[in-house]
């Protein structure tokens, strides 16, 4: 098994995406572009997920625990609450496979010879950031406006991945921020397919693929990606 991650700024602003890959998890976070210091928030979310995800939490509870930790760290740094407005996609690789998502982004995986791509778009272009979980006022307002679909349900995907892992047909999982839909002249599915077309899978395989693919592309949002090869 090999994991790797990479994130890149679209160059029109300071990068507000962050990505992390370790032997036991993948995680990416996309900071809200209209809020200040979300580059810090995105990092706090990734590293907090790294700390928390080996605990026996599942989905909502795990995300809630991560949000609590980020809130505490944010307060310690005296950052405004908006700095924690960042999405989160985490893949726990410790006991099988389990994906947790809050906000928006893309998940792709290969079972057998098929690349399956699942894109999650926020309602009304207003992602539910996990930081809202620890802010009752904002949380209630978001639910009023968008309904109670705060945490993206990943149980079906997780069941599919678990089965494929047991059957040894799962060969790759990749997660992306929504920046993959910001590339001129290419559909999101084509971008994801290209980014998953690894020439080699050792070492910094995600970094190599992202850099090469984006070399002659124009993109309008930060892009983060993390992947595991089984």
């Amino acid at each position: 098994m090999n994991t790797d991650s990479y994130f890149i700024s679209c160059k029109t602003h300071f990068c507000q995406d962050y990505a992390l890959a370790t032997e036991r998890q993948l995680v990416i976070s996309d900071g809200c572009s209209s809020a200040k210091h979300t580059d810090v928030g995105a990092r706090l979310f990734c590293w907090s997920y790294y700390q928390v995800c080996n605990k026996p939490f599942k989905s909502f509870n795990l995300l809630f625990e991560v949000a609590n930790r980020v809130d505490a760290q944010r307060l310690g740094l005296r950052l405004p609450k908006e700095s924690a407005y960042a999405t989160l996609i985490g893949v726990d690789l410790i006991n099988g496979v389990s994906i947790s998502m809050c906000g928006d982004g893309v998940v792709a995986y290969v079972i057998g010879r098929n690349l399956i791509v699942k894109s999650f778009i926020s309602p009304n272009n207003t992602p539910y950031y996990p930081a809202y979980m620890v802010d009752e006022l904002v949380n209630n307002q978001w639910v009023r406006e968008n309904g109670d679909n705060r945490v993206i349900p990943t149980n079906v995907i997780n069941d599919e991945l678990e089965t494929a892992l047991e059957n040894e047909t799962l060969s790759m999982i990749a997660i992306f921020s929504d920046g993959v839909s910001s590339i001129d002249g290419m559909s999101e599915i084509d971008v994801v397919s290209e980014l998953c077309n690894f020439k080699t899978t050792n070492g910094s395989f995600v970094e190599r693929r992202v850099k090469r693919f984006l070399k002659d592309k124009t993109f309008h949002d930060d892009i983060s990606m993390a992947a595991v090869i089984f």
């Binding site: 080699t200 050792n202 910094s204 970094e207 693929r209």
Partner: protein
């Protein structure tokens, strides 16, 4: 130590060796080739030349770009030979660079230049085809003129031009170093060799003292570091002797 794989060149019977892709973890590499004269005339300062190579390798090991360097060492005397193929610095040990110059014979300088450039271009293409970024730096250290190659100087010039024009490597810096050049005919011949082939830089040293070769080692390692730092920018690293 990583196993080196053999690679063939389409234009020559001589190939080269290098680390297989499965052992290359970084996203970008600077390919470094050092070609060292081992003709009979370097016998008087063989130890200093070897020390120079040791110092270059040691300096590269301390570079912040150490993980992004792949070094190949070739020697040329009566004929050309590979001392070791492209490998990472973790696999280059100081003791490997003691008594490695088997001195004797004439100077197959042009053959070394042709193989050095073709090998970097071919290996670089292999890396680039597999999503790695790559540039190169080729350093040739000689004390004399070409007198025993199969390839002609015109062929060497074409090989370098083709490599640059192919744009396979992001950039390629080539440095010809003449050491212990203390007669004008040799100086003129090397200068003409440099001009015809089109090296990026020609450095001429009038002696081969320990101090001079230590300065050369510093220059070479700084040039390697500069070229490696330039990777990704599309330009070559700057050089100053």
């Amino acid at each position: 130590m990583d196993e080196l794989q053999d690679f063939q060149l389409t234009t020559s019977n001589f190939g080269f060796s290098g680390v297989g892709l499965q052992d290359l973890g970084a996203s970008e590499y600077t390919l470094v080739t050092i070609a060292v004269d081992r003709s009979g005339s370097v016998a008087g300062f063989r130890d200093e030349l070897e020390k120079c190579v040791q110092e270059v390798v040691e300096s590269c090991r301390k570079s912040p770009r150490a993980d992004n360097l792949l070094i190949r060492l070739i020697g040329f005397g009566q004929n050309f030979s590979e001392i070791h193929g492209f490998k990472d610095l973790a696999s280059c040990f100081t003791n490997d660079y003691v008594n490695f110059l088997n001195v004797g014979g004439m100077t197959a300088l042009t053959d070394a230049v042709v193989n050095g450039i073709e090998s970097m271009t071919t290996y670089g293409k292999t890396l680039i085809d597999n999503d790695y970024e790559a540039n190169g730096i080729f350093v040739v250290i000689t004390d004399g003129c070409e007198n025993n190659s199969t390839n002609t100087i015109t062929q060497a010039s074409k090989v370098l031009a083709d490599s640059v024009n192919s744009e396979l490597l992001e950039s390629l810096v080539t440095i010809l170093v003449g050491v212990n050049i203390n007669d004008s005919s040799c100086s003129n011949a090397l200068s003409a060799f440099n001009t015809t082939i089109g090296f990026t830089e020609y450095v001429e040293l009038s002696n081969a003292s320990a101090k001079t070769l230590a300065k050369l080692a510093k220059f070479v390692s700084q040039s390697i570091s500069s070229q490696s730092k330039a990777l990704g920018s599309g330009v070559s690293g700057s050089l100053t002797f």
